[in-house]
Amino acid sequence: MLIRRPPDVLPSEITDPDLYHARRRFIAQAGSLALAAALPASQANAATGRLGPLAASPFSTTEAPTSRKAVTTYNNFYELGTDKADPAENTHRLRPAPWTLRIEGLVHKPRSFGIEDLLKLAPLEERIYRMRCVEGWSMVIPWVGFPLATLLKAAEPQGSAKYVEFVSHYDKATMTHGVLDWPYTEGLRLDEARHPLTILAVGLYGDMLPVQNGAPIRLVVPWKYGFKGAKSIVTLRLVDKQPLTAWMKAGPSEYGFYSNVNPEVDHPRWSQATERRIGEFLKRKTLMFNGYADQVASMYAGMDLRRYF
């Protein structure tokens, strides 16, 4: 006798793979959309996550931007995993909304900003910058952001403030354990932080910043190696002594405080003379200060860049 058993899974219960992936995309975008909903209408569209209107910037390069796919799937964001493909797959581990950024330390007006306040602080600009990673690859990224100097001004730094320390969000429950001494910290000299090229980015390709790129707000310093650009920042602290950064703690002989792009000073494990632009086959020569020497070299006049690497 043949006894028919119904299959364990009904055909109607099997999810179409396209739908399944669409759901994943939806979950990834939901965070930034929730954030967009909280923003003023002029700066962000709640339905699409688009930012705007955006002012063009004379600091933008005319080089062709790296594809959005590469920019959003090839990331060093160790809190979300140490493989470059990990951050884009682990976006659920960081909720970019609601978000508060605190500016404190040697300032006359310590303040906390909601991300919506930060977007009202200054008109948003598109800044198309070269990004050079210490590992020997580079991209061209159309960031959206505003000068860090604007935020610093709002907090009124005291005369004794010499450096800015940046602290990234860290949640032990959902993020990577070990590898680096968390939370991730970075630092800039005050004049570097006030330099017009230095921005806080809140978007790329005209959209709200994806989680894997450091949502909702990150630092971009285009003449320094990429790791200087702290992601998902929660605290900015003005201090009088040079802060110790996460990478300096991890490898003092390999990572210095300045970390200016410099083809003449090699990383102990990699030559820094050349780089591979993502999407290109042949390597290209790395430029001093990542091609921003005209704007920034004067800040380091007289300094031994081999010693202050």
Partner: protein, 223 residues
């Protein structure tokens, strides 16, 4: 369970195809443009990892044989070792061609100045004589003893391979640690078995000459 000769040929053919699988899968990912934003880095990484994996698989043959009694598997070892070499050559070619595009001064600087490249390059150079002598003619020509002494270099090669991986990673050493631990077990088992063998010889009084000589001497005196 010792397979017959035709069975062994079948096993060898299947293993040969299995060893080609990683290369095929890599080619397919390349073809589908599924290697990510930095395909050259992905190819370098993938071929390097398979070199190390095949080295460890090759080194697992002897322990597996001792633990299971499947003595015939030693006849698969040559192919596994040669595949380790083949993936190693692919890894080196990826670096020389795709990564550096034959920029010889830069390559020479890398080999001399970057410890992880020095070590990796040394491992591949050391593998070459082993690959060249992986045939019956070379074994006859060298004699079993010398051939075996030469092929013990594989222990050094595997260690260099793990060091190469360890020094390359920026901070997260989890993966090189896993490879190193497996290698430590494979080499540790050998050391342990060798020690057991030594103890057995001592305990069993297996010292061939002295006792025999004694009895002879006694006999002489008895006459």
């Amino acid at each position: 369970m010792t397979p017959s000769n035709p069975q062994l040929s079948g096993i060898k053919s299947a293993l040969f195809l299995a060893c080609l699988l990683p290369a095929f899968l890599l080619w397919r990912r390349f073809d589908l443009d599924a290697l990510g934003a930095n395909p050259i880095e992905a190819i370098t990484r993938n071929t390097g990892e398979w070199t190390l994996r095949f080295l460890l698989i090759t080194l697992a043959v002897t322990p597996l044989r001792k633990l299971t009694g499947w003595h015939w598997i030693v006849r698969l070892r040559r192919m596994l070792g040669l595949f380790a070499f083949a993936y190693g050559v692919a890894h080196l070619l990826t670096y020389l061609w795709l990564d550096q595009f034959f920029d010889w001064p830069a390559i020479a600087r890398d080999i001399l100045k970057r410890p992880f490249i020095t070590v990796g390059f040394a491992a591949l150079v050391l593998m070459t004589p082993l690959a060249v002598t992986s045939n019956n003619f070379a074994i006859r020509k060298l004699g079993g003893r010398r051939w075996q002494a030469l092929h013990r270099a594989v222990y050094a090669i595997a260690i260099l391979g793990c060091v190469h991986f360890w020094w390359l990673v920026k901070k997260d050493v989890t993966e090189p640690l896993i490879y190193s631990l497996i290698l430590a077990v494979l080499l540790g088992l050998r050391a342990w078995w060798r020690e057991l063998e030594r103890r057995k010889q001592i305990a069993g009084g297996y010292l061939p000459q002295a006792p025999r000589l004694n009895s002879k001497v006694i006999r002489i005196f008895a006459k």
